[in-house]
């Protein structure tokens, strides 16, 4: 691949999906895009780049998709789901006792293992959640992985990575060599395409957000921006779960780490509090009293 094409692809991917490739990742781009070029009957990456430059939106989105890392497995890292069961949900059950509803967002759902792990965790607690309305939304930039998520069909390898055998027997049906998650779990989740670089304020407010192992591919500025926008669509007493190698520290003051549960974050409510200082006139009133400019 010629350097000019690599530079073009780096810039293109960063703008389109936020993927922040360092200068030495040509091999990664080649290994992911060569099969794509062959499939499209193109001579190589040079021609692929030419298509994007000429404005082929189909090729452009195929390239974004091919460069997206979709590695995931059921109950990945285990601890976040223990936290969900032992800390997050018990606290939310109390906090939302009157409303009896919860909104959960899985912001990089990939092939569905994470939202389904959340759904199974909730199903296992159903005695305490009887009569509750629980909405789980799984989003991902890649249409292809969303289709797989919706089908809920996994290989024997996939169902053995992280999924306890009891849950496999309980919530999956074997069809030949594949395993499909049961319709009652599938129906707990709505899937939608979403690019985290774009505005997502229309998603509404969430009580719990899982945004794991996706921000690692973004640069510092983008991470800061996304944290800011995540905070805006989260209830002030909500929970944010990040991946094991991710943190908010040094990137944003919109969230603060949970006191003793690693990987969990809460909105920084102090920051969002109304700016009324005791003994002083509220800012809004003062502004109203001054002439409009």
């Amino acid at each position: 691949m010629i350097p000019a094409d690599y530079d073009f692809l780096r810039k293109f991917l960063k703008e389109r999906s936020g993927l922040d490739l360092s200068a030495d990742k040509q091999y990664l781009v080649e290994s992911r895009l060569m099969p794509l070029a062959r499939k499209a009957n193109l001579s190589g990456i040079e021609e692929l780049v030419q298509k994007i430059r000429n404005g082929s939106s189909a090729v452009a989105s195929d390239v974004v998709e091919a460069m997206t890392t979709n590695e995931t497995f059921f109950f990945r890292d285990k601890v976040p789901f223990d936290h969900l069961r032992d800390v997050v949900l018990p606290e939310m059950i109390q906090a939302r006792a009157a409303r009896k509803s919860l909104r959960i967002w899985c912001a990089a759902a990939s092939t569905g293992q994470e939202p389904y792990s959340i759904a199974m965790t909730i199903k296992e607690m159903s005695a305490r959640l009887a009569g509750w309305r629980i909405e789980i939304i799984g989003t991902d930039i890649s249409q292809q992985v969303l289709e797989k998520s919706k089908s809920g069909i996994y290989t024997q390898f996939e169902v053995q990575r992280g999924l306890p055998i009891q849950l496999l027997v309980k919530y999956f049906k074997q069809t030949g060599e594949m395993w499909q998650i049961n319709p009652d779990i599938r129906s707990m989740i709505q899937y939608r395409p979403l690019n985290l670089l774009q505005d997502f304020s229309s998603m509404g407010k969430f009580d719990i957000i899982f945004c794991r192992n996706v921000l690692i591919y973004f640069d510092q500025d983008m991470k800061t921006q996304i944290f800011g926008r995540l905070a805006k669509c989260m209830e002030p007493d909500g929970f944010l779960a990040l991946g094991a190698a991710e943190t908010v520290v040094g990137l944003t003051d919109a969230f603060k780490p949970h006191a003793d549960k690693r990987g969990l974050y809460r909105p920084n409510v102090v920051r969002a509090a109304p700016s009324i200082v005791p003994g002083m006139a509220p800012v809004g009133l003062k502004a109203a009293a001054s002439p409009v400019r």
Binding site: F73, Q160, R161, P164, I165, Q166, V169, Q174
Partner: protein, 121 residues
């Protein structure tokens, strides 16, 4: 160091399993059928058993039922590792006291995920 008894009539599978489990810091003993495995358990109980189902002399299911009746035999974590991959077999194994279940073919990630699941890693 935790101990794991690898029970399989295929020496190739035992070798592969040994390499994976030694990489996870287990001390390995091997047996080629359920009866030999029971003999080893009577000498000293391992922390874990990686157990094939179909073997000559005594199969894995019979071994498990015998093990669970031994004094202290409820302690070792038993992880089946077999080509029997249908729900009926899995349910029978769990009912007889298996802690986890691996469907062959397997790799290092699967073994390590399953051993983590039962709290051995």
């Amino acid at each position: 160091m935790k101990t794991c008894l690898v029970v399989d009539d295929s020496s190739v599978i035992r070798k592969v399993a040994r390499r994976i489990l030694e990489g996870l810091d287990f001390e390995i003993t091997e047996a080629e059928d359920g009866e030999k495995a029971l003999e080893i358990c009577k000498q000293s109980l391992p922390d874990a058993v990686l157990l094939d189902w179909n073997m000559p002399v005594m199969d894995g299911y019979e071994f498990l039922r015998n093990l669970r009746r031994m004094p202290g035999g409820d302690v070792p974590k038993v992880v089946f590792c077999t080509t029997e991959n249908d729900v009926a077999h899995i349910a029978r194994a769990l009912h007889a006291g298996a802690n986890e279940y691996i469907m062959k073919p397997f790799d290092k990630e699967i073994v390590s995920a399953k051993f983590q699941e039962v709290g051995l890693i």
